[in-house]
Structures are given as structure tokens and as C-alpha cells.
């Protein structure tokens, strides 16, 4: 009797743990925003840089050398489809000083172009810069460029 009660209690406890885990997972799922499975089919295939864009987010005048007063555009080509994917652009100066970061969350259905741009009202310091693009927090591509006076 005692043993059977203990067995019943253990079974109830195990059931409670399973149910609690299931409930927790279902609540946490939206926060993940599909960063794993649903984005597995997307990849960054190319980054172009320049001073202006076309309407379909392609670079008009490709260059990796800019002037201090330029607005700097990067066009990131992705291939594949996903319910959601996050592209992050991290811009750094010289030996890694942070310039800025920005993020775009997209739901590509095939090839897509995502542009990021930066400007500085008082002009860019001359020197070497780097753009690193992350896809779902994993580094996907980098591009070096420079600003010359």
C-alpha cells in the first residue's frame, strides 16, 4: 500500500514535470523568433558597397573608398527563404572601435537585398573601416573599406 502510494506519487510528479516543461517551452517559443530551423535555408552570399542605391536596393556605384561626407551604403544579398531571419550590420573603425550597429528582421521568400547605411554629419575620420554582417547572430560576411580625405 505504502509502496503503491509512493509509486503513484512519483508518477504524478513525473507527469507534472513533463507538463511544466511543455508549458514553459510553448511560452518561450515566440521569443526565439525562429532563429534556428526556419532560418537554416538562408545565407549571405554577397556584400556590395557604394554611395547610392537603386530602388531595388542594389548599389549604383560600387566602391570601397569613400569621402568624409559620404553616406555609406552596403547592400547585402541573401539567398533562400525563412519565416524570419535577422541581419545585423556592425561597423567598426581601424582596430575595432565601434561605430554603430543596426538590425533588420526579414522574412525572405527567395533572393533578397537588404541595405544598411550610415552617415556622420561632421564627416568620417579618414582611415580603414570594416563592416561585419551577422545572420542570426553568427558572423556571415565582412567587407573592408576606407575613408580618404
Amino acid at each position: 500500500m505504502h509502496t503503491r502510494l509512493r509509486g503513484t506519487s512519483l508518477a504524478a510528479l513525473a507527469l507534472a514535470v513533463v507538463l511544466t516543461t511543455a508549458c514553459t517551452k510553448s511560452r518561450e517559443a515566440p521569443a526565439a523568433t525562429g532563429t534556428t530551423g526556419s532560418t537554416a535555408g538562408v545565407r549571405v552570399s554577397r556584400i556590395d558597397m557604394g554611395r547610392s542605391l537603386t530602388a531595388d536596393k542594389m548599389i549604383n556605384d560600387k566602391t570601397e573608398s569613400f569621402k568624409p561626407n559620404d553616406t555609406i551604403y552596403a547592400s547585402v544579398l541573401t539567398e533562400g527563404a525563412a519565416a524570419t531571419a535577422t541581419l545585423k550590420a556592425r561597423w567598426t573603425y581601424q582596430d575595432g572601435q565601434a561605430v554603430t550597429e543596426s538590425t533588420q528582421t526579414i522574412a525572405p521568400t527567395g533572393d533578397a537585398r537588404t541595405e544598411f547605411h550610415i552617415s556622420k554629419p561632421d564627416g568620417w575620420p579618414a582611415g580603414k573601416y570594416k563592416l561585419e554582417v551577422f545572420l542570426n547572430d553568427s558572423s556571415a560576411a565582412t567587407k573592408d573599406f576606407e575613408v580618404q580625405r
Binding site: 531595388d56 565601434a98 528582421t105 526579414i106
Partner: protein
């Protein structure tokens, strides 16, 4: 080679201020429909403050409280945000 030549070859290192950099982006891909809120996020970098982010995103530093309220789960003290934090921009 004079002292001035040496200075020219080895200019003093200074750290530029990128606090007034404006950034943005857009895509030919549609935005996810099931994302909570607008889907726009901002990743905090060194030297940021809520008012700097508000100035950058809204053009008005006084709108920092909107960002603070949207991220109360992440920000305990509005004067303390950390590089790498991903903030919702309502």
C-alpha cells in the same frame, strides 16, 4: 629627419567620437508577420545612452522614455545600458 617629420610619421592616436552617426536600413524582403511589436531592434554599442538612441531613432533625445518603457524587462536603471543589449524600438 627633424622632430616634426617624426610627428608626421607617427601622429598621436586619438579616439574619434562616433556618437552622432546616423544609421538605417531596409530590405526587398518582407518583414516577418509574426514578430512581436514593430520588429525593429537596436543593439547597444559602447558610449550609447537611451537619449542618444532616441535622438538617433526619432530625432528627439527626449523620447528616451518610450524606449525605456518598451524594454523594462531588460533595463532596470535607465542610466545603465550595456553594449550588446538588443533593445526594442517602439
Amino acid at each position: 629627419m627633424g622632430i616634426f617629420d617624426r610627428n608626421e610619421n607617427n601622429p598621436p592616436k586619438s579616439t574619434p567620437d562616433f556618437g552622432n552617426v546616423k544609421s538605417g536600413g531596409s530590405s526587398t524582403a518582407p518583414a516577418p508577420t509574426d514578430t512581436i511589436g514593430s520588429g525593429k531592434t537596436y543593439v547597444v554599442v559602447e558610449g550609447d545612452s537611451l537619449s542618444k538612441i532616441a535622438k538617433r531613432e526619432y530625432g528627439d533625445a527626449n523620447k528616451w522614455r518610450a524606449i525605456y518603457e518598451a524594454n523594462r524587462d531588460l533595463i532596470k536603471d535607465p542610466d545603465l545600458i550595456y553594449p550588446g543589449q538588443e533593445l526594442k524600438v517602439p
